[in-house]
């Protein structure tokens, strides 16, 4: 292997940063014929690579390449629909192939960014994947025209069949693909994409492409990987965040022939390697470990809550938006409304626990990783193994859930490599127990919000003051983004500007501020990230203010939304579908909420009842959503349904208590998850405007909890200001 010069070598850090940068300006996926054949991505079957996105086999099978991660959210199918739409191929002959980060790197990132978070899977790649499909179509048609020696303009194509009407000749993509692959790619800027209103494949409720192997046990997740000679590892990291390993007594597990080694991992953890995982885990459970808890063992729920509460009194903030003078307006208002809200730490609890299989030799590192960002996994593999990126490869498998846990951190890759280095050229599969997964997550950050509003004599909102005191994800995970002490990410959903996460209300005097109060607990993005907590604070308080004003919560909101037609349209759509204002069965009450996140506008109406003994039943949720361009309406419905389950689980049960510096909920017996019996009927209304592209995996989760809490408020007459509901006496 020749050395890459220091100037041209892509540093790991630059690579990682690059994977999170916008891909605008890159010309993706169009210049394949110029790339040496040896550098081309390996395709499972013979076929001609027309361009990076499209491989066509002689039997007309169309393999569409996918860079983003599919972890349940339907992105694989949606991206394939977008490519196929422009390609004009036969959808029945479409299959997909996930490219690896090594392939992407070796081809100068022809497939762009692979990271799949922030509901970006489709909304930040729709343009170049559609141009990739269109470019392939243009080349395929040109190849047919060249063969028949006629002008390409005389050809038509449908379902991958190319026709020349004048001479009644037809051919197929499979027949011309090899010739098309040799042609120069068209300039992507010269391509005119279809009007979405003319879509035939995209925009439809098409079945997922990846269901079959999920029904018979044949789908291989990373946790299922089997390799010749493979060993398995179990790990325990100091339960107190920031603590280290003091000692462990290996003699207590001596004489277990299956055990191949005990290793300290990065000073903070201990791993046992054995021939099977269960034997490794059993030995680890039997291994006495003494931890050095260090300073953080003094931390608990009470100390953290006091730390956050102190933020309400701080004289400076870490980011704000303001117009007028909210504090003065509220002080002089005819009526004041005040409330303090709080939300807890939450774990992701993906069904497939963290795991990674690593095989390290002197000049090659390979890892099998369930990852939301395979390029970040590759960077972690390179960094941990000490081998350059081009000697590393990450083999893809679809994660068994992600929800933000498997993106930037890649902690389990670092651990697996550290362990596997002890067994050169031998694959070692590290699996975290559920308890380890719950003890060492990057949790949804904890926060509290102090809310104040002023109303005039007519019940009009004259001032709104929000102060959020809580932990910052950026401060923990990416301090460079906390510029000059300001961290506006924690105010997600309260943006002044439209486009990503804009607050949909106006008031003559408004102050919304963030006060950073960090804890020792590692934090990270959790499906919906800060829109979840911020929607609870804003939308539940909005109901409190509406009640104080003597107004219907929907009408009160509408009076503040004149400048926000897109927010208002989804709010109205949800209200209309749910029959807002119409009679309900006895004991059933409604609540409403709206929010904007990941560019998508969401609203929800919940119907709940609360029994005399305080037992809650959530009967129905109507979700309205404007994601701009719906790509697969059935998968949008699926994500809305899923967001209700994930959001409602958090609302009902979700909390990660901290005691003696460590997490105390370590499995599903205490970290309760909503089951089927509690699932309300979910109805999804899609009201697209086709003038932007929004996400779908996350946006709707933000409105689920506030709609339910507002319905509870309607049922009981009492606001719910802290979560989870299992700790709240409703009557």
């Amino acid at each position: 292997m020749k050395n890459i010069s220091s100037k041209t070598k892509l540093s790991r850090r630059a690579f990682v940063v690059g994977t999170t940068a916008a891909t605008g300006g890159l010309s993706l996926g169009f210049h394949m014929p110029a790339v040496a054949a040896t550098a081309r991505a390996a395709t499972a079957n013979e076929g001609a690579e027309v361009n990076a996105w499209v491989v066509i086999k002689p039997d007309d099978t169309c393999i569409i390449r996918i860079a983003r991660t599919e972890m349940g959210q339907g992105t694989r199918t949606g991206l394939a629909q977008l490519v196929a739409e422009e390609l004009e191929c036969d959808w029945k002959k479409v299959t997909t192939e996930s490219i690896t980060p090594g392939q992407n790197l070796s081809r100068k990132r022809v497939w762009g960014e692979m990271g799949t978070g922030g509901s970006r899977g489709i909304r930040t790649s729709h343009d170049y994947v559609r141009r990739g499909g269109a470019a392939a179509r243009i080349m395929l048609l040109q190849a047919a025209a060249d063969h028949w020696k006629i002008p390409v303009g005389e050809l038509t194509v449908s379902d991958g069949i190319i026709a020349h009407t004048a001479t009644k000749r037809t051919t197929s993509y499979g027949k011309v693909a090899a010739a098309a692959a040799k042609l120069d790619a068209p300039d992507p800027k010269s391509i005119t994409l279809k009007d979405p209103r003319d879509w035939k494949i995209a925009g439809k409720a098409i079945k997922r492409l990846d269901t079959a192997d999920k029904l018979n046990g044949s789908k291989i997740y990373a946790i299922d990987v089997k390799l010749p000679g493979m060993l398995c590892a179990a790990i325990k990291v100091c339960p107190v965040f920031g603590g280290t390993v003091k000692s462990y007594d290996e003699s207590k597990i001596a004489g277990r022939p299956s055990v191949r080694g005990v290793f300290k991992v990065k000073e903070t953890g201990v791993a046992v390697v054995a021939d099977t995982w269960y034997r490794a885990k059993s030995a680890l459970d039997a291994l006495p470990i003494v931890w050095d808890d260090a300073a953080n063992a003094t931390q608990s729920d009470a100390t953290i809550a006091a730390h956050l509460r102190e933020g309400f009194e701080a004289t400076t903030n870490n980011g704000d938006r303001r117009n007028g003078d909210a504090v003065q307006a509220i002080a002089g208002a005819a009526k004041k409304v005040e409330a303090i809200y709080s939300t807890p730490f939450l774990a992701h609890a993906t069904m497939e626990p963290m795991n990674c299989t690593a095989k390290i030799s002197a000049d090659r590192a390979e890892a099998w990783v369930p990852s939301q960002n395979s390029e970040a996994s590759l960077a972690a593999l390179s960094e941990a193994s000490g081998l350059p990126l081009d000697k590393c490869e990450v083999l893809r498998s679809d994660p068994g859930g992600g929800f933000g846990r498997r993106g930037g951190s890649q902690d389990y890759v670092h651990q697996a490599v550290a362990i596997a280095k002890n067994f050169p050229n031998t694959p070692v599969k590290l699996i975290w127990s559920r308890e380890e997964d719950m003890a060492h997550d990057f949790y949804r950050p904890i926060s509290q919000a102090k809310m104040a509003a002023g109303l005039d004599e007519q019940g009009n909102l004259v001032g709104l003051h929000v102060r959020i005191s809580g932990q910052s994800i950026n401060a923990f995970a990416n301090p460079a983004l906390v510029s000059g002490g300001r961290d506006m990410r924690q105010l997600q959903g309260y943006d002044v500007n439209p486009g990503e996460a804009q607050l949909g209300y106006a008031a003559p005097n408004m102050l919304i501020e963030y006060v950073m109060r960090n804890t020792h607990v590692p934090v990270g993005p959790w499906r919906g990230v800060n829109t979840n907590q911020n929607a609870v604070y804003m939308e539940c308080f909005m109901d409190e203010v509406a009640r104080a004003a003597g107004k219907d919560p929907l009408e009160f909101r509408r009076s503040l939304m004149g400048n926000f037609p897109k927010h208002l349209a989804v709010l109205n759509a949800a209200a209309e579908k749910a029959g807002w204002g119409q009679p309900l069965p006895a004991g059933v009450h409604r609540g409403i909420a709206q929010f904007n996140g990941y560019a998508t506008y969401s609203a929800a109406v919940a119907e709940v009842s609360v029994s005399d003994t305080g037992k809650l039943k959530v009967h129905r949720l109507v979700l309205a959503v404007n994601c701009g361009h719906p790509v697969n309406t059935d998968q949008i419905a699926a994500q809305c349904e899923g967001s209700v389950a994930y959001g409602l689980t958090a609302a009902l049960y979700g909390e990660c208590p901290v005691k003696d510096g460590r997490m105390t909920s370590l499995n599903f017996d205490t970290y309760e998850i909503m089951r089927l019996a509690e699932m309300p009927k979910v109805e999804t209304v899609i009201v697209p405007t086709y003038d932007f592209w929004g996400g779908i995996g996350e946006p709707t989760i933000a409105v689920v909890t506030p709609a339910v809490l507002n319905a509870i408020h309607a049922a009981t007459g009492k606001p719910v200001r802290s979560l989870p509901l299992k700790n709240v006496m409703l009557v």
Binding site: M71, G72, Q73, G74, K207, R208, D210, T211, A212, D213, K214, L215, N216, G217, S218, K219, I220, Y221, I223, D224, K226, C232, T276, W277, Y278, R279, S282, A349, T350, M351, E352, P353, D398, P399, G400, G401, G402, F403, I431, S433, R434, D634, A638, E641, G642, S643, V644, A645, Y646, N667, F668, D669, I673, M674, R675, L676, A677, M679, K681, V682
Partner: protein, 163 residues
């Protein structure tokens, strides 16, 4: 040493008697469709049939499995994904990430075997496995759809396709 009848085939495995059946199925027998999710019988990702009853294999010691017990895993439910539950799951596009679905399908198949026409309440009580993606609404619909299929409840009474 344990002798296990899994999907109609007898496996002799060398394993410590306290090993959970789940890990024997996954690591000694090599059938990985049955999943690890919690290890404490909470999530149901490890659900298999033992003599027709749905059981959470993570919490059954292999030494407690009797020689005559017939174990069926997701791989043995049908030869060609033709079980009514599998067909209904496909028709409704139930799975998202899919990780819990082996267990969900095994639980649904066991429910229909005993109760070919389950009510919503029956489904509430029988389908207690965790799905983090939140496919519960479609699972309910798919159980009803499977029950409505001509061979619904009856065909659910499988004894294990050999794999």
């Amino acid at each position: 040493m344990a002798k296990l009848n899994i999907n109609g085939r007898v496996h002799n495995v060398q394993v410590e008697p306290e090993t959970p059946l789940l890990w024997v199925i996954r690591e000694q027998v090599g059938l990985t469709g049955t999943k690890y999710g919690c290890g404490v019988a909470q999530c149901g990702a490890c659900s298999v049939h033992i003599n027709g009853e749905v059981m959470r294999s993570c919490s059954i010691r292999v030494s407690d499995v009797k020689a005559g017990d017939k174990i069926v895993t997701i791989e043995g439910l049908s030869a060609t994904s033709s079980h009514p539950v599998q067909k209904a799951w496909a028709a409704i596009d139930v799975p998202q990430c899919g990780y819990c679905q082996s267990g969900q399908i095994m639980a649904a198949a066991a429910l229909l075997r005993k109760n070919p026409r389950p009510t919503d309440k029956d489904i509430d009580e029988a389908m207690t496995n965790i799905c983090r993606c939140g496919t519960y609404q479609r699972i309910r619909a798919a159980v009803h759809l499977a029950a409505d299929m001509p061979t619904g409840g009856k065909a659910a009474a499988v004894t294990g396709h050999k794999v």
